[in-house]
C-alpha cells in the first residue's frame, strides 16, 4: 500500500456559503417536496372557494332588479342608515329654522328610549336616502348634538329635555355652511357646531324630525351562532315656537313624511300631529352611519369574503410545522446543520423562505376572494364599502397573517420537534381562539380578551367594519369588531412569532442535533 503524504486538493472552487446560499437551499428544499407546494396551493384555493361560497349564499335578493339592492350611501360613500320621520318644507337659499323642543319621550309604555333616540331640526339636501344634511337635536342620553353627513357628531349642552328645561334649537344656512345653535330661553344662543356641506343645492328641505334606533337582542345559542332580533323603537318629540325664515312658503306648508323605506324589524312608520303651534313628531330609525352588529349581520363585507382564511391557515400551519419537523423526524436536520453549522441560520433561512412562499400564495388568494366577492354582490358592492387603501391593507394583511403564522408554526416545530404536538399547539394558539371568539361561542368579554393576548389577535388585520361613537351596537368579535386596531393586533402575532423564533434559535444552539 502506498501512503500519500500530500493532502488532497479539492477540485471544486470554494464559494463562501453564506446566508444567501442557505436561503437558496431552503427554497430548493421547499419546492422539491410536493406535499408542501400542494399544501400551500390548497390553502390558497380554500380561501378563494370559501369566500365565493360565502359571497354567493349571502347574495342579497333584490325584489326590483332595476334598483341597487344595497343600503344607502352617504356623501362620503360610506354605508348609512337614513330612516326617520320628517316634517318639512322647502327652504331656498340662505335662511334658518328655529324651534323649541319640550319633550323627547318613548312612544308607548314599553321601557325607555335608546340613548341615541333623537328629535330636532334638520336641513337636508333632498329626499334621497343618504343625501347630505346638517341637524341639531336633543337626544335621550347624550344631550344636545350637532350632526352632519352621518359621520360627524359634535356634543352640545348636556342633559335631557323636559317641559321645565326645554331646548331652543336653530339651524342657519349661509351658502354651504350650516351652523347649529342651542339656547335655554330663546334669547341667548350658543353655537353648537358648524357644518360645511359642499355642493348643497339651493333648495333644501328644512324641518323637524324624530328617530329612534332599534333595540336589538342577540341571544347566543347553544352551539355557537347568534339569534338576532331587531325591535323597532319609536321616539316622540314635541316642538313649538317653530319659525322658518328666508322662505316664501307659509306656515301651512308643513308636510310629514316617512323617510327611508317601509317598516321592518328595525324601524316602523312614524306619525305627526299638529295642534295649533305644537307639533308632535313620532319617528323610528336613525340618521347615522351604518355599523356592523345584529342589525346588519349577514351582510356581505370584505371581511366575510375572507372567511376562509382560518381554514387556509390550518393548512399553512401544517406546512410550516412539517417544514422543520420532517427534518427532525428523519434526522435530516443533521445534514442541514452539517451544510450550515451556524445554528441560528437554519431557522432564519426557513423563516424567510416560508414567509415569502406563504405570502406569495396568500396574496393572490386574498385578492381573488375579495375581488370575486365584490363582483358577486354587485352592483352595490359590499355592504360596508371600504377605500382602496383599506382593501389593500386587508388583502396584503391577510397574506401577511398567513406568512407570519407559517413562521410561528415553523418556530414552534423547531422547539418541539414533533409534528403533531406543534400543529396542535399552534392551532390552539391561533385558529381555536379565533373560532371561539368570532363564532359567538364565548361571551364578548372573554372573546375580546382572547383576541388581545393570543396570536389570533393578528386576525385584526382583516378588520374593516366601521365603528362610531354616535351609534350603539355590539362592537364585538362576533360582528367583526376586534378589540385591537389592525396593525396592533398584527403586532401581537408578530410578537409571539418573534418569541417563538428566538426560542427556536436558542434551542438549536443549546441542544445536540
Amino acid at each position: 500500500m502506498t501512503l500519500t503524504t500530500t493532502s488532497y486538493r479539492s477540485g471544486t472552487p470554494a464559494v463562501h456559503a453564506g446566508f444567501a446560499q442557505q436561503l437558496r437551499a431552503e427554497w430548493t428544499k421547499f419546492r422539491t417536496v410536493r406535499g408542501w407546494v400542494a399544501g400551500l396551493a390548497a390553502a390558497a384555493l380554500v380561501i378563494v372557494l370559501i369566500g365565493l361560497i360565502g359571497a354567493h349564499t349571502e347574495r342579497p335578493t333584490c325584489e326590483d332588479p332595476n334598483q341597487p339592492c344595497t343600503g344607502a350611501r352617504g356623501p362620503g360613500g360610506e354605508a348609512v342608515t337614513d330612516r326617520f320621520y320628517f316634517v318639512h318644507q322647502p327652504l331656498t337659499g340662505d335662511g334658518s329654522i328655529t324651534v323649541r323642543i319640550t319633550s323627547l319621550a318613548p312612544e308607548g309604555a314599553k321601557g325607555g328610549l335608546p340613548p341615541w333616540a333623537k328629535a330636532g331640526i334638520v336641513l337636508k339636501a333632498g329626499d334621497r336616502a343618504g343625501s347630505a344634511y346638517a341637524a341639531v337635536m336633543a337626544t335621550a342620553g347624550h344631550g344636545v348634538r350637532m350632526q352632519h353627513n352621518y359621520t360627524h357628531d359634535t356634543a352640545g349642552a348636556p342633559g335631557t329635555v323636559s317641559a321645565a328645561s326645554p331646548h331652543w334649537l336653530r339651524l342657519t344656512r349661509t351658502g354651504d355652511t350650516v351652523t347649529g345653535y342651542r339656547s335655554a330661553d330663546g334669547a341667548r344662543w350658543t353655537a353648537v357646531g358648524t357644518a360645511r356641506l359642499t355642493g348643497l343645492p339651493s333648495q333644501v328641505q328644512a324641518g323637524m324630525f324624530a328617530a329612534s334606533p332599534p333595540a336589538t337582542e342577540s341571544t347566543s345559542q347553544k352551539f355557537g351562532g347568534l339569534s338576532n332580533r331587531g325591535a323597532p323603537t319609536r321616539a316622540t318629540g314635541v316642538f313649538d315656537h317653530v319659525a322658518l325664515s328666508g322662505t316664501e312658503s307659509g306656515d301651512a306648508a308643513w308636510h310629514g313624511e316617512q323617510m327611508g323605506g317601509p317598516a321592518d324589524d328595525f324601524a316602523s312608520d312614524g306619525t305627526f300631529r299638529r295642534a295649533d303651534d305644537t307639533f308632535t313628531v313620532t319617528g323610528s330609525g336613525d340618521i347615522a352611519p351604518a355599523v356592523g352588529g345584529p342589525m346588519t349581520a349577514g351582510g356581505q363585507t370584505i371581511e366575510r369574503s375572507l372567511a376562509g382564511t382560518f381554514v387556509g391557515l390550518i393548512l399553512v400551519i401544517v406546512v410550516g410545522v412539517t417544514f422543520i419537523t420532517a427534518e427532525y423526524r428523519r434526522g435530516l436536520i443533521r445534514t442541514t446543520l452539517m451544510a450550515s453549522p451556524r445554528r441560528g441560520r437554519a431557522p432564519a433561512a426557513k423563516a424567510v423562505v416560508l414567509a415569502a412562499v406563504t405570502f406569495a400564495a396568500g396574496l393572490p388568494a386574498a385578492a381573488a376572494a375579495v375581488l370575486l366577492g365584490e363582483w358577486l354582490v354587485r352592483p352595490g358592492g359590499f355592504d360596508f364599502p371600504v377605500g382602496s387603501l383599506t382593501e389593500l391593507r386587508v388583502v396584503a394583511g391577510t397574506a401577511a397573517l398567513l406568512a407570519v403564522t407559517a413562521v410561528l408554526a415553523m418556530a414552534v416545530g423547531t422547539v418541539l420537534r414533533r409534528s403533531a404536538g406543534a400543529v396542535t399547539l399552534v392551532f390552539a394558539a391561533i385558529v381555536l381562539p379565533y373560532i371561539l371568539a368570532t363564532a359567538s361561542i364565548l361571551p364578548a368579554g372573554p372573546s375580546q380578551w382572547l383576541l388581545r393576548v393570543t396570536p389570533a389577535a393578528g386576525f385584526a388585520i382583516q378588520q374593516n367594519m366601521p365603528q362610531y361613537a354616535q351609534v350603539d351596537s355590539d362592537y364585538t368579535p362576533a360582528f367583526g369588531y376586534f378589540p385591537l386596531p389592525p396593525w396592533g393586533g398584527f403586532a401581537v402575532l408578530c410578537g409571539w412569532t418573534a418569541v417563538a423564533l428566538g426560542a427556536a434559535v436558542f434551542m438549536m444552539r443549546r441542544r445536540d442535533a
Binding site: 493532502s7 471544486t12 427534518e327 428523519r330 445534514t335
Partner: protein, 310 residues
C-alpha cells in the same frame, strides 16, 4: 493546511453515562482509517462531535485545524455520511443533492458529477421513499463527495449492503484514499474493515484502545502464542511451565503455549525428550485481534453508554 481530522481528549456525558472518555486520535490523509469498536463505544458520538452536531464537554475536534462550526463552506472540507436514512422520502435523489449543493454555493453540474461518481444515474430522478438501503448509501456517498472534500467520514457504510455493494464500497473508499484523501470509516465489525482499512483506531467505552496499522495489530494480537500437538500432554505441560511459559490444554492432544517463541518451544521439547507432532506459531485473524482488544469493552457494554438513540 493539513487535511486531517484531529480529535483530542474528547469527553462527553449523557446524564450518568459516559459516552466519550478522553477520545484522542488523528486521521491521516491518503489512507483509509478504520474506526472500530463495539456498539456503544462512542464512534457515532465522536463523529457527531467532529461535525459540530454534538458539543463535547471537554476536548477538541479539528478539521484541517479548525473546529467544524468555524468552517465557512464545510462540505468543501469534509464530507460525511452519518445516517443513510436521513432523507425526505418525497424528494428525489437529485433534488436532495441539489439543495445540499445550493447550500454550499455549488451548482447543478456538480450534482450531476457526484450522481455519476456514485453510480446513481438511473435512479437520480426517483423519490427516495422507494430506495433500498444500498441506494441510500450511495446517495449518502454522493452527498459526502459534493464539495470534493479532502476528508471523507462515513458511519457504518457497509451496513445493509449486499456482497456486491460491499465490494463497491470497499473499492470506492480505497480509490478515494488513493487520491490523497483522508478516509475515516466506522464499523462495529472488524471483518468489514479487514481488506479496506490501512490504519485502525480501535475504541471501547469512549476511549481509544489501539491506534495502529492493520499489520501491527495482527502481529500484536498473535503475540507469541504457539499451538503444540503432542501425545505426551502432561510431560510437555510440565516442561514448558518449568521454562516459564503459560500453557493451556485446548484439546486432548493440543496445547496452546504463550510466553515462549515457537523456536524456543521446539528446542525445549527436544532437550526434554518430549515427543510432538506439530508446533505452529498461532496466526490471529484481524477479528480475533479485535476481540482480544475489545473484550473488556464488550464485557462492560451493558453498563456502558449505549449510543444515544437517533
Amino acid at each position: 493546511m493539513e487535511a486531517t481530522v484531529e480529535v483530542t481528549g474528547l469527553r462527553k456525558r449523557y446524564g450518568p453515562t459516559t459516552a466519550l472518555d478522553g477520545m484522542t486520535f488523528t486521521v491521516r490523509p491518503g489512507q483509509v482509517t478504520g474506526f472500530v469498536g463495539p456498539n456503544g463505544a462512542g464512534k457515532s458520538t465522536t463523529m457527531r462531535v467532529i461535525l459540530g452536531l454534538d458539543t463535547a464537554d471537554e476536548g477538541t475536534a479539528l478539521i484541517g485545524g479548525q473546529p467544524y462550526r468555524n468552517l465557512r463552506n464545510p462540505l468543501n472540507h469534509i464530507g460525511a455520511l452519518l445516517d443513510a436514512a436521513a432523507l425526505q422520502p418525497g424528494r428525489t435523489a437529485r433534488n436532495h443533492l441539489l439543495w445540499l449543493a445550493h447550500s454550499q454555493g455549488l451548482g447543478a453540474r456538480r450534482v450531476d458529477d457526484v450522481i455519476e461518481q456514485a453510480g446513481l444515474g438511473p435512479v437520480a430522478g426517483r423519490r427516495t421513499a422507494g430506495f433500498s438501503l444500498g441506494m441510500r448509501q450511495r446517495l449518502g456517498i454522493a452527498a459526502a463527495l459534493l464539495g470534493d472534500p479532502p476528508v471523507i467520514m462515513l458511519d457504518e457504510p457497509f451496513n445493509g449492503l449486499d456482497p456486491e455493494g460491499i465490494v463497491w464500497m470497499r473499492d470506492f473508499q480505497r480509490a478515494l484514499a488513493a487520491q490523497g484523501r483522508a478516509v475515516l470509516l466506522s464499523s462495529h465489525l472488524m471483518s468489514e474493515l479487514q481488506d479496506t482499512a490501512d490504519h485502525l483506531v480501535v475504541v471501547g467505552r469512549g476511549r481509544v484502545i489501539a491506534d495502529t496499522s492493520v499489520r501491527e495489530l495482527i502481529g500484536t494480537a498473535s503475540g507469541d502464542r504457539v499451538t503444540l500437538r503432542t501425545s505426551a500432554r502432561s510431560e510437555a505441560m510440565t516442561a514448558l511451565a518449568y521454562a516459564g511459559a503459560t500453557v493451556a490444554a485446548t484439546d486432548r492432544d493440543t496445547l496452546t503455549v504463550s510466553g515462549l517463541a515457537a523456536e524456543h518451544v521446539v528446542t525445549l521439547l527436544g532437550e526434554s525428550g518430549v515427543p510432538f507432532s506439530e508446533v505452529s506459531a498461532h496466526r490471529a485473524t484481524l477479528e480475533e485481534a479485535y476481540m482480544e482488544l475489545t473484550r473488556d469493552a464488550v464485557e462492560f457494554r451493558a453498563a456502558a453508554a449505549e449510543e444515544p438513540a437517533r
